[in-house]
């Protein structure tokens, strides 16, 4: 185990080192830090330090600065502060800064110092174990979730296959598509590692690729998508909206056509406000009855409700070059959300 001892007083450094060597019964590699250069050298060396014992006041830095530097290379390094001027305020500050314990610097406190170091290390061990368990549990949970979503997808497919009515079958397939887009959002959430936001650019590109890949016609897609880490509360409804609009275009805009063009755009107005635009060069609103334009259609009802959920607005218009455009504007924060 590597231990860093930081103190300007060479005699006290030696006393600390001896106390720690006795406490840990050999098996320790103690580096005494005397200045910035020796600290930098120690932090560049391997293995990473597991324990830091530092004086508060140094000629070249202070204990808080040392802790920050050490934790930046090993966030799970145990740390004990010692200082000649013991007072309660300082103890509180040390603990708040992330030190595991605080000892008054004196030769009759060395025994306590060694015990504090051992206890700090044990606490870190426990924490590491808990974090590993948590990661394992999260992985298992997600694996189970994806498996269950596969069961749902399978059940929908089985049911669709047992139905003779083509219209009803299509509705079930649409449901399959909705489950699929939710699953994609879930996957992005997990992959991102930040459980508060979703990489919406990656999601949108994957969603549109997946949906258009199922289409046997020649559909060209143009992406004009800006980077956007959307809050989960916005990303999930907006992701489902994107699925409805893209599916709608494929279903209705390019009816009786062998090819078509989709434009998928996402523009950031500010870090949290966005415009999503799905456009096609299809038959336009007058040529065909478009689901999303029919007030009673399920797709459109879902889109309206989901946009309402995020406090957004949608407008649709005919493109001068032919086809339709759907533009969804979402404000910074969803209504009634306390997401941070």
């Amino acid at each position: 185990m590597r231990i860093l001892v930081v103190d300007d007083d060479p005699d006290f450094r030696a006393l600390i080192a001896r106390a720690l060597r006795t406490e840990f019964d050999g098996g320790t590699d103690i580096t005494q830090i005397t200045d910035r250069a020796s600290l930098d050298a120690a932090l560049a060396a391997k293995p990473l330090p597991e324990l830091l014992v530092s004086d508060l006041s140094l000629r070249w830095d202070d204990g808080f600065g040392i802790l920050q530097a050490v934790r930046s290379i090993n966030p799970l390094c145990a740390a004990v502060m010692c200082t000649g001027t013991g007072n309660e305020d300082l103890a509180v500050r040390a603990m708040k800064a992330g030190f595991d314990d605080y000892i008054v610097k004196s030769s009759n406190q060395l025994r306590r110092l060694a015990t504090a170091a051992r206890m700090a290390l044990e606490r870190i061990q426990t924490r590491r174990g808990l974090e590993e368990n948590r990661d394992l549990l999260t992985r298992e949970l997600y694996h189970r979730l994806h498996n269950n979503l596969q069961l749902v997808t399978s059940l929908i497919a089985f049911t669709a296959r047992s139905i003779d009515d083509a219209g009803a079958r299509e509705k079930l397939n649409d449901l399959g598509g909705r489950v699929q887009s939710l699953s994609l959002l879930q996957e992005r959430l997990y992959r991102g590692g930040d459980f508060g936001r979703i990489d919406f650019k990656a999601f949108l590109e994957q969603l549109v690729d997946n949906v258009t890949a199922l289409d046997t016609r020649n559909i060209a897609v143009r992406f004009e998508v800006e980077e956007a880490a959307l809050l989960v509360d916005v990303a999930i409804p907006l992701g489902l909206v994107a699925n409805e609009l893209v599916t709608n275009s494929l279903k209705h805009a390019f009816k009786h056509r062998a090819e078509g063009e989709l434009l998928v755009a996402l523009t950031a107005l500010d870090p949290d406000a966005h415009i999503l635009e799905i456009s096609d060069n299809g038959s336009g609103i007058s040529g065909e009855t478009r689901d999303a334009n029919a007030p009673g259609g399920l797709g459109m009802r879902l889109v309206r409700r989901l946009i309402q959920q995020v406090g957004g607005e949608m407008e649709s218009f005919a493109r001068p070059s032919g086809g339709m455009s759907w533009r969804v504007t979402v404000p910074g924060r969803p209504h009634g959300s306390s997401a941070s």
Binding site: Y142, H143, N147, Q150, Q180, Y190, R191
Partner: protein, 138 residues
């Protein structure tokens, strides 16, 4: 049904399904059979899968669940399927982790299908295996 217009019976593949969740195995079987191919068997462990391969003289395609009960997982089994039988395979995984995906990709599968996958995703794998076999025969 074949979506590429070549017709369902261009070449009938024998597919071995390795999956410990039987409903999901049934789903895979439905897709395979609807596309005009046949299912060699459903194995729930690597040992069962290898026994089927030995007994029947091999499959044309193996679908592999990543997580299997027993000593070997999907990736371990894929290695044997490739080295001993030279059979193409496709992974089906519930894990979205980059590390797990990289482990799958390293075995050079035909595809890695992220669960939940839809009918069309596996249909495309079957169709591409058929067309590459047809191209090789020409």
């Amino acid at each position: 049904m074949a979506r590429d217009g070549t017709g369902p019976a261009a070449r009938q593949l024998r597919v071995l399904i390795v999956e410990d969740e039987l409903l999901i195995a049934d789903f895979v079987q439905m897709i395979v059979e609807d596309a005009g191919h046949s299912v060699l068997g459903i194995a729930r462990t690597a040992t069962e899968a290898l026994a089927v391969m030995e007994r029947t003289g091999g499959a044309d395609l193996v679908t592999l669940d990543m997580k299997l009960a027993g000593d070997m997982d999907g990736v371990d089994l894929a290695r044997v399927v490739r080295d001993r039988f030279g059979t193409p395979f496709v992974f089906m995984t519930g894990s979205a982790e980059a590390k797990s995906r990289a482990r799958c990709e390293a075995e050079r599968p035909m595809a890695v299908l992220q669960k939940p996958f839809r009918v069309e995703a596996l249909e495309q794998v079957l169709a591409s295996l058929c067309s590459s076999a047809a191209a090789a025969a020409r």
